[in-house]
Subunit: 702 residues, 2 copies
């Protein structure tokens, strides 16, 4: 052991240097100090200040009031937004400006960066001349024309000062970036408005007139080609920065990363460009990243996770020379437009993380954010982090991210893993391109896992209960989809179990993306029902619906598990069950997506006479409505004769107490647990009791 | 779209406030400024300085020279270590001390924290009285006794000043923590020696006399019970901090996280306590985390990954009130003891990340680090981060972590996921405790995946090539392990394929830790060989060796895939192949771990007459040596008649060029790719050509 800790292996190159030093400053036994420094250090380290852009003239752009109501309830993109941020900085001593008048000397901590109007040339780097000229024309419009143009636009308003304010806002962003790039300040906060990120090259939109951040980035890249070759724009405004994205969609010099609500395009701006699969084009492919929240209500947990899993690894790999935050504070807790819950300390943490990129060259440019209190405390937290203070603790670091947000983050990592090394590492080694498997030479030596699993199920059911295959005839599907007990033609009571391919619990090798089949197990939760039915000597039909068919002879291109489930169940009813003359009591047990086949059958055939009970386990799958084709009363019948079990966290329960799914979905019950296996385990007794009751309540069945 | 962006939903509570504010400061059309602030901000924000502990008296502890050699090549724990750090801080202007004499006023950026000797009471919070008294006794020992005690100790040395230096070092750590906790400084750097983290309660060790950080943490917890209830100690010294770990192993108030080389206990201190599975005991269970590098040579990529994946999520969840870094710089690039490559900027990044915990309450205490240049530039980078500068860019952010380090990080996450929510999320939801499956009710509805896969293989081979089962008789194993072609009793030439259960490529659901069996595929790379052999009308035997048996009737407790592979191959040879009288040419194709069965057979039976070729695909598995039981010349024979293909990155190739595995491992060849499937694909033609050649070179076979 000891040898590890000795210096015997000390390198030769450093040895000589150390020998020289020994003579000079080695001091081992004598207590008297003998220090003769080689040079007298007289360097004074003077840390740079944080830059601040603010100009009262940016408050002149405002909505023209047309009613008293607007005075009580002003437009959210309110001139006070920048004032309130400036004020809170002063109140907390980060700047010295007792009168809040926007003085030039603001003290020792922050440095005022003078704001100027962006020039036409600068603006034309991003915008069209038409767009510039239209905005210029607003300076001389009369009230009526201004109101008309406001009416015409996509969520924008104009007055005669809009053009100046917009040029100042844009110029402020440029000057903030310049001050950082030129080393005048260590980083900067541009408290500017109107915001910019929705403004596309040809048009205003979403309260935005000029695309401030995009104009700044383009001009920095143009004017500092040596020192700034790559810029990362991180847009944490709750809306997608469609304008910024568009400006750099084909540009590999700018990595645009946006976190925003998308909700299948229902959230503003709602264009397909905001979707997570938009990764850039041409040279810019791989340099656009949309992290799209599928729902509102996200907060610190989701943002921290996205930063840790996506933003920071990506940023480090990109190696930007400058980072610009498109800093809307409308994801902040308290913002009624954003309806999210990012806390001020989370904004601090995100700023702190981004400071570790680009040697700290960071510019924060205000975008949206409409709760005046929320944007003030959020901006204060960002400013404190910029001047060098550590961020506050997160109020609830134990909170779990929402599953749907986790899923989205995973999807983004997956799609971006095509471009970024850091994600390949995380997501596993995609040495097999899955979509190419069918045509590939690999096809000869691969087969789908589900085939093996169904075969094993058949083998077990055959061995344990003498099950046989039910002919599937012209369905053009594997012949082991429908299995049945040997007593099927004599039984009076039949349980029909309709299920997806069972789940597998496994250990995955993170390096190769493969699993060890020896330590992986298949969990077939329906076996409990099979055993129960077998013990009661019921006839049993077991139907397995594959969710997809990967390849093979079965024409997989137009395969749909939904249609397939419906077809299989209709086939089963029309060709087999109808002719089982002894059967007078049937119960369906549906598990997973396959339930759609059961519900479809119940709506499309007259089954009421014989079907006594329907038990469906949905876990997190979408509820399936019974659409009655023949008999309007079927919804009531279904509600009365079914139990539909959902996950505790199933979206159908919404955020409100006492919300109930409608009758056409059956009698939906909320489990205490989540997941197919857990909910089946939890409700097994309830389900079987319900079936037994329904079989005996013969007289009620009409 | 537009409706999303209007203020119609503005909350009532904020409305009234805003109305009031409207009267006061809303300013929309007039260009004249009308600002009447509610209060005049006169606060001045004064950021705290960073504390610095340094005292020249800590340099008096030194090794007593016994030869001129020690003067040329001094002991690595060299008194100049702290001087060099102090000097570089002065040279870079972080402190003002032109004479480097350790003055009290060191300028505007850092604040000198006076160092004092730790008191006996403080030390006794961690150490035994015997240990304290022994160290006290060294103050009066004569040279001979000192040398004798130095000789006796575990990598420690003593002189008459050791006790004072050690008390100062320990006191410095305490005072640094106190200054931070009391809010006198924002954070602190304690440039102290001798180091502390190897010193256990009863003994010195590894250059350490008192366990400085442990003593400081214990005393802070004792004296500031209100403000400091939890402390996180992050130990990035390249050696395991066995002393610190021991002091808090049963203490839930202190989370100890160490990153260190372990190498199966071969690296100092080399006790089992340093292993990654040591997670704490009793109340302290879950509050100890060892991240153990299985090899030297790690650097920024591995440390950044470990911080991002383990240290930071864990730290945020722990919510410490104070973070102490046990800051050895022996993982630094250039340290010949650590032999790792952490760069100064990586130390900066790690410090920056840790600053985001505990509201920035961070104390950095020096431990090891033996290259004087490396520790100086590393400490400078840490100090700059402490005063608030952003860290430099990593020199090579694109570098991939070593696979074995990734694997270790994954193992740590897995073992710690028992205690930490953040890892459950990442590692998947362990709702099935795997080890309990056998006894659990789940056993009735689960079955091992490998059984299903082998069954599928059998079905395919039966359908395609009419394969049948070979009886396995008394082996007490599944009956489908050995399959053979129908011509096995008439063929002259036989190919015996011995393989592990094939790999599965899959999509995993990160939330439930389950996979979709429909989009997962089994990759059976040996099928190419089967097809080839079938086309040449060879007899074929296909042997599947399960790597483990999870449960079932087959007595899994003492199952070993190694022994199993050996037994199955011997059984096959003794009971079947021996009696295949027509066969005069045999080739083995081994894949994966199962190769051990083939090599064992070749060493234990006289097979030379009939076995003409052996092809083994090892991927990343350990090479299997042929141990000749009967015939010493077998190693040569094996080398001549085999091809053993390894991954490109297989450890057998080491770091040096031209390293060759020994002959007993066969003719080992390095593939250009990694992984079983890729290497088989790459070398398929070479392997089959080799077999064909060997079959025809009849005359050479003796």
């Amino acid at each position: 052991m000891q040898s590890n800790m000795t210096s015997s292996a000390m390198e030769g190159s450093t040895k000589r240097k150390q020998e020289e030093e020994n003579l000079e400053s080695l001091n081992v036994v004598p207590k008297r100090q003998v220090i003769v420094p080689t040079k007298k250090p007289q360097v004074h380290y003077i840390p740079l200040k944080t830059g601040l852009c603010y100009d009262v003239r940016m408050r002149y752009h405002a909505k023209i009031f047309t009613s008293y109501f607007e005075y009580i309830d002003p437009h959210p993109e309110d001139p006070r937004r920048i004032y309130r941020i400036y004020k809170i900085l002063a109140e907390n001593g980060l700047i010295n400006d007792t009168m809040l008048s926007g003085v030039d000397d603001i003290g020792d901590i922050m440095l005022k960066i003078p704001v100027r109007e962006a020039t036409a040339d600068e603006i034309l780097e991003v915008h069209s001349r038409e767009h510039l000229e239209f905005l210029e024309s607003t300076t001389t419009m009369n009230r009526e024309v201004l109101l008309k143009e406001t009416e015409k636009g996509d969520s924008v308003y104009f007055n005669n000062d809009s053009y100046m304010s917009a040029k100042l806002s844009c110029g402020g962003a440029i000057e903030a970036c310049k001050a950082v790039v030129e080393g005048k300040v260590k980083n900067a906060l541009a408290v500017v408005r109107p915001p910019g990120h929705h403004s596309e090259p040809e048009s205003s939109g979403g309260f935005c007139l000029f695309s401030n951040v995009a104009v700044a980035a383009k001009n920095i890249l143009k004017n500092y080609p040596e020192s700034v070759r790559k810029i990362m724009i991180l847009d944490w405004d709750i809306h997608h920065g469609n304008g910024t994205q568009k400006a750099f969609y084909q540009d590999e010099r700018v990595l645009y990363v946006s976190l925003h609500r998308f909700e299948a395009g229902k959230y503003y701006p709602g264009t397909v460009q905001g979707q997570y699969d938009q990764c850039g084009e041409g040279k810019g492919e791989g340099f656009n990243c949309n992290i799209t929240w599928p729902t509102g209500g996200v907060g610190d947990a989701e943002y921290m996770w996205a930063f840790e899993q996506i933003v920071m690894p990506m940023g480090r790999e990109f190696q930007p020379d400058l980072v610009i935050i498109s800093s809307g504070f409308d994801a902040a807790d308290g913002d009624v437009i954003g309806q999210c819950h990012v806390t001020p300390s989370c904004y601090g943490h995100m700023t702190h993380m981004l400071k570790s990129l680009a040697r700290g060259n960071l510019v924060v440019v205000l975008e949206g954010g409409y709760n005046l209190d929320s944007i003030a405390i959020s901006a204060l937290s960002v400013a404190k982090t910029l001047i060098g203070e550590p961020p506050d603790e997160l109020p609830d670091p134990l909170k779990d991210p929402k599953p749907e947000a986790l899923e989205m983050i995973y999807k983004v990592i997956k799609i971006q893993s095509k471009y970024w090394k850091c994600f390949k590492r995380r997501h596993g080694n995609y040495n097999i391109n899955f979509s190419e498997v069918a045509s590939d030479t690999l096809a000869t030596k691969t087969f789908p896992l589900q085939t093996a699993i169904r075969q094993q199920q058949y083998y077990n059911l055959f061995k344990e209960y003498d099950f046989v295959k039910f002919p599937t005839a012209n369905l053009k599907l594997p012949d082991d989809l429908i299995l049945c007990s040997p007593n099927i033609h004599t039984a009076e009571t039949v349980i029909i179990i309709v299920h997806d391919t069972p789940q597998i619990w496994l250990e995955k090798d993170i390096i190769s993306n493969t699993v060890d089949p020896c330590s992986s197990i298949i969990i077939d939760s329906t076996l409990d029902f099979l055993k129960w039915a077998h013990n009661r000597k019921y006839g049993i039909i077991d139907v397995n619906i594959p969710q997809s068919l990967i390849y093979g002879d079965e024409n997989p291109d137009n395969y749909s598990s939904l249609i397939n489930a419906q077809e299989i169940l209709l086939f089963l009813w029309d060709n087999h069950i109808k002719f089982l003359n002894e059967v007078n009591k049937i119960a369906f047990i549906g598990v997973g997506d396959s339930v759609s086949g059961v519900v479809h059958l119940l709506g499309h055939r007259d089954t009421k006479e014989r079907v006594k009970a329907v038990i469906n386990f949905m876990a997190d799958k979408q509820l399936k409505p019974l659409v009655p084709l023949v008999d309007e009363s079927l919804s009531d019948w279904y509600f009365k004769n079914s139990l539909v079990f959902s996950n505790r966290t199933h979206p159908c329960w919404g955020d409100k107490e006492n919300k109930k799914p409608r009758k056409k979905y059956g009698r939906v019950l909320r489990c205490d647990t989540d997941g197919l296996n857990s909910t089946i385990e939890e409700r097994f007794d309830e389900a079987t009791d319900f079936i037994l009751d329904s079989f005996e309540e013969w007289s009620d069945s009409e």
